[in-house]
Amino acid sequence: MLNIKNLSVAAQGKQILKGLNLEVPAGEVHAIMGPNGSGKSTLSQVLAGRDGYEILSGTVTYLGRDLLALPPEERAREGVFLAFQYPVEIAGVNNVYLLKAALNAVRKHRGEPEVDAFEFLALVREKMQLMQMSETFLSRGVNEGFSGGEKKRNEILQMMILEPKLALLDETDSGLDIDALKIVSQGVNSLRSPERSMVLVTHYQRLLDYIEPDRVHVLSDGRIIKSGDRHLALELEKRGYDWVKQEAAAA
């Protein structure tokens, strides 16, 4: 699904990713953990196509295509979805309008007809119920006046509607209380499938209690320095990151 080779990236003249390698096969959920400033958010932003980053070297292959050559909207239409760490408030653009435009953009790309307005609204209502979102959401602007938790739920709602092939979740757990975390995790888990891969970028192990990853990677100073199964996350929670760094330095 996703294959990152030797990726080095700089922002504003400062190198952030330093030869990162990562492979995410179809159907797997990978967690990327790491201390602040290790390059976690840069990785998800670069994968989604945010400009302002300079690719110094390396390749990113997604379903056999050169992902970095595509503009962000093309990536989205090809099935890449980024759940933002800080979802943007856009007063004046309606939530449902955006959802529908986004879904139709994907469908058009696949050569499918536009979604029926009535069926679409029924679908949105169904998913909203799963995410326990209030009815007022329908008439509001994108993330307009939403609490932190509502914004994160809205990201997962969009993901449910768009059904991406590769989902990147950037610190989706940050700012969530335990109830909201459960709802968000249920939403994410409902999307697990053999055809869909997910990359969870997170600072804490907490999220992984609810979304069990197939692999856990430690990102430090722009590189993956250790990989393992979900037990690695538990160990990190207990012992912190320093021992991994020391281990990597010794190697």
């Binding site: 945010r50 909207e73 989205a76 943007v88 856009i90 007063a91 435009a101 790309h109 768009l162």
Partner: protein, 443 residues
């Protein structure tokens, strides 16, 4: 009537003088008032960018016009109906080149509490009243073209709303520039007097096809008696060659409320002067508007609110957009007079630049002579938020469309204030088409 020869006038003024002379000599009280107005305009000279009120707006595009008097029009330019609001059940009064066109207006059934007369009929039947209406009250430098209107006006409307009358339907006034590709000078004048505790919704709509090269010097004067309310839509969407130099003035009495919504779109050079005088205790005004300049258009909105007595309120919310090499100007002046304690004045001007070659100048101007007042203002000019743009694109929305949606969102917040649905839909439809569809402002 003869115009005294003046040596070497600037060409634009010389043209006005010749044009005035071509209307033929009369010696009625009206003609005397009109000549006085012209004389005053000529002796003051054209405003220049050295005048504070015209600092950002050059009249070169006006000066370049070889003005002509309106001719009687036999057929209006194609597509008039498509330029107008879908206005079922409203009384519609149409002017073509500043003159009442009965054939295009809807039958003026009797509406209780509403008296509508054309200025032409008053000029014909009651020269004394006409001379009074054209008065000789002071004209600010900012609204200098009021004098041109006074000098040349031969039609318009005088609207009286009876005390206590609540008019259920908006009154829809259309000003179409049509039938000529010469720089026809049109000078409609609307005078509105609302009786105590009456309510009126007025839609003033300036339109033209793309062919028009008219120069429109329109004036609207409102006088709101105690406790009355006037909601005034001034929508302007004209062809790209039109020059429009218009003004609105409102005198607001005690506890009366004036609400203004403006749309400024099209025309190579346009200027709107909006002067409100809050003259009675408890008087208030709410002004909002949106303008867009694209291509090489220049559009200027100057508002001026005078808080004359204690306990008056004003709020202003303007959104400006400029694309291409367009240039927009917003100047919002608030004057709080010495006795006007407890004044509450809010002003917001937010502007969006859609290209690197566009320019918007915005300036709040506060003159406060009272000490117990609440005055706030905010002015911003910026570009589309790159994070919001990325957010939309990351959801599969193409870059152009994402830009359009964000620009539209910027405008929509002001449109929310427009309570009359056909008017709001019209304005919103124009921007929707511009930003999501054709990128053209052609009417």
């Amino acid at each position: 009537m003869s115009v005294a020869p003046l040596p070497s006038l600037p060409v634009a003024l010389e043209r006005l003088r010749t044009l005035f002379a071509a209307r033929g000599g009369k010696t009625t009280p009206v003609a005397v008032a009109q000549q006085a107005a012209l004389q005053q305009f000529i002796s003051l000279g054209l405003p220049t960018t050295r005048d504070e009120a015209w600092k950002y707006t050059s009249l070169r595009r006006f000066e370049g016009r070889a003005l002509a008097l309106p001719e009687s029009v036999t057929a209006v330019d194609a597509g008039l109906e498509s330029r107008l609001l879908a206005a079922d059940g409203w009384q519609r009064i149409v002017f073509v080149n500043g003159r009442h066109a009965a054939g295009l207006s809807t039958a003026s059934g009797v509406v209780t509490g509403l008296r509508v007369r054309t200025l032409a009929s008053i000029l014909r039947d009651d020269p004394l009243e006409a001379a009074t209406l054209l008065g000789n009250d002071d004209v600010t430098t900012s609204a200098r073209f009021d004098l041109v209107n006074r000098a040349f006006v031969d039609d318009g409307l005088v609207i009286d709303v009876a005390a206590g009358a609540h008019l259920a339907q908006p009154l829809y006034l259309v000003f179409e520039s049509s039938g000529s590709d010469r720089a026809t000078l049109t000078t409609p004048r609307i005078i509105i007097r609302s009786g105590t505790h009456s309510r009126l919704t007025l839609i003033e709509h300036h339109v033209s096809g793309e062919r028009a090269e008219h120069c429109v010097a329109a004036v609207t004067q409102l006088s709101l008696a105690e406790g009355s309310q006037v909601e005034h839509y001034r929508l302007r969407r004209e062809g790209s060659k039109v020059v429009h130099l218009g003004s609105v003035s409102a005198d607001v009495g005690g506890s009366a409320r004036y609400i203004s919504h403006t749309l400024s779109l099209g025309g190579t050079l346009s200027r709107l002067d909006l002067a409100v005088r809050l003259a009675g205790s408890g008087a208030s005004c709410e002004l909002n508007g949106v303008f867009l300049a694209d291509g090489t258009q220049h559009t200027d909105t100057h508002s001026c609110i005078q808080h004359v007595v204690p306990k008056t309120q004003s709020s202003q919310d303007y959104r400006g957009l400029a694309d291409g090499k367009g240039r927009g100007v917003f100047n919002g002046k608030v004057v709080v007079h010495k006795d006007a304690q407890k004044t509450d004045a809010k002003q917001s001007s937010r502007n969006l630049l859609l290209s690197n070659t566009a320019e918007i100048d915005t300036r709040p101007e506060l003159e406060i002579y009272a000490d117990d007042v609440k005055c706030s203002h905010g002015a911003t000019t910026g570009q589309l938020d790159p994070t919001a743009l990325f957010y939309l694109r990351s959801r599969g929305i193409a870059e152009d469309e994402a830009r359009g949606l964000l620009a539209l969102a910027f405008v929509e917040t002001v449109l929310k204030g427009m309570g009359i649905e056909p008017a709001r839909d019209y304005v919103s439809g124009i921007f929707r088409q511009y930003f999501l569809d054709s990128k053209a402002l052609t009417p």
